[in-house]
């Protein structure tokens, strides 16, 4: 992965960025057809906020309401069902630590149309900021590489994130992008209406007309 050689080798070397800003950058790079799965917590809220637009909210987004840790498995399922569509999973550090095995499953399947973005603030922020193992010695990008996801990298800074997300959009994955983020509050709160969320998502994917 020569293309990833100029990215930070470890979490400590990556710049601490802002989650809403990073999510806005990601949504800005997307076309209309990529699927995005938001895990629980502030990762999810900021995806909701960043997906608001003048022509309505971005449709092919799925917002979990519980089932902590399942953003990557859900995204993998969508990616299997729709192999020509790029699928993004946005997940927090606490959430992915709960379901690390899914990184191995994604690697074993060599799911080319999948990109995982980890928002790592080293804390369970929504429950009061208790420390996660990330930042106390656990490096999630390192775990991903050891799980077999060779195309895993820390975003050095905002420009580096844009470059990595652009690569994920153009080239075969699976990809994993680690983003160190601050403790900023989310910009909005996701609407809690699961039937509507699911229906919008399926219409966005063209499964429902």
């Amino acid at each position: 992965m020569a293309v990833l050689a100029n990215h930070p080798a470890t979490r400590d070397q990556a710049k601490v960025m802002n989650r809403y800003d990073i999510t806005l950058r990601l949504v800005g790079l997307l076309h209309q057809d990529e699927a995005v799965i938001g895990g629980i917590g502030y990762t999810n809220f900021d995806l909701w906020a960043a997906s608001a637009g003048r022509q309505g909210r971005r449709q092919p987004n799925f917002y979990m309401l519980g089932s902590m840790g399942l953003a990557v498995p859900i995204a993998l399922g969508v990616a299997i069902a729709q192999p020509r569509r790029k699928v993004f999973a946005l997940e927090g550090d606490g959430s992915i630590l709960m379901q690390l095995g899914c990184l191995s499953t994604v690697a074993a399947r060599r799911q080319t149309n999948l990109c995982i973005v980890i928002m790592d603030n080293g804390a369970y922020q929504i429950t009061g900021g208790q420390a996660t193992a990330a930042g106390q010695g656990t490096d999630i990008v390192g775990i991903a590489r050891a799980s077999g996801l060779a195309q895993s990298a820390w975003a050095a800074d905002e420009a580096s994130f844009t470059e990595l997300a652009g690569l994920a959009l153009q080239e075969d994955g699976p990809w994993l992008i680690g983003c160190r983020i601050d403790a900023g509050k989310p910009a909005d709160t996701t609407e809690r209406d699961p039937a509507r969320i699911r229906d919008q998502f399926m219409r966005g994917l063209g499964v429902r007309k």
């Binding site: 089932s67 399942l70 498995p73 859900i74 993998l76 379901q99 095995g101 899914c102 499964v207």
Partner: protein, 172 residues
């Protein structure tokens, strides 16, 4: 050749276009797993946890592909949160098939204890479930229940009794 329970399951899954099979392996499920893995109609693979397997089938259904999760009783016991917070509120018809341990000759006390939680949890979550004991009923139960699951957008659980499969036999 006489019909087998796993041959019938494979045929009914095909009839209902259930193409994705995610599983955490189990000895009793082995012939079914081998059958679907040998058949190009299916995409079948092992997952690290049952929750993960359910999440994958949920995503696939939203993407237009039907799937089923295979597991054993102890694996089902790990699922109540994701059924209650994902499959049920989002109305995703996840099909589950559980190889029943913990009864009719169980030798592992952990299996016999956790097995007691399975039906009460299914009932508490108001999930349609059927215990399959007879070869001649297998097609009917699966066929009708899959129709119902997709028509009503509700999860369904099939429990494979040792009466049907032979179960796992005690050996010292």
């Amino acid at each position: 050749m006489a019909e087998t329970w796993h041959g019938i399951v494979r045929d009914v899954l095909k009839r209902h276009d259930v193409r994705l099979v995610t599983y955490v392996p189990d000895n009793v499920l082995r012939p079914l797993i081998e059958g679907v893995e040998a058949d190009a109609f299916f995409t079948a693979f092992a997952c690290t946890r049952e929750e993960e397997a359910l999440g994958i089938v949920t995503g696939a259904w939203m993407g237009g592909t039907r799937g089923i999760v295979l597991m054993q009783t102890s694996g089902f016991a790990t699922l109540s949160n994701v059924i209650a917070s994902l499959a049920l509120p989002f109305r995703v018809p996840v099909a589950m098939m559980v190889s029943e341990r913990g009864t009719l000759g169980e030798f592992n006390i952990g299996q016999s204890l956790v097995a007691k939680t399975m039906r009460p949890v299914l009932d508490a979550l108001a999930i349609e479930h059927h215990t399959m004991t007879r070869l001649d009923e297998t097609d009917f139960i699966l066929d009708r229940s899959l129709v119902q699951a997709y028509a009503t957008m509700a999860p369904v659980c099939f429990i494979l009794s040792p009466l049907l499969t032979g179960g796992k036999v005690f050996s010292k």
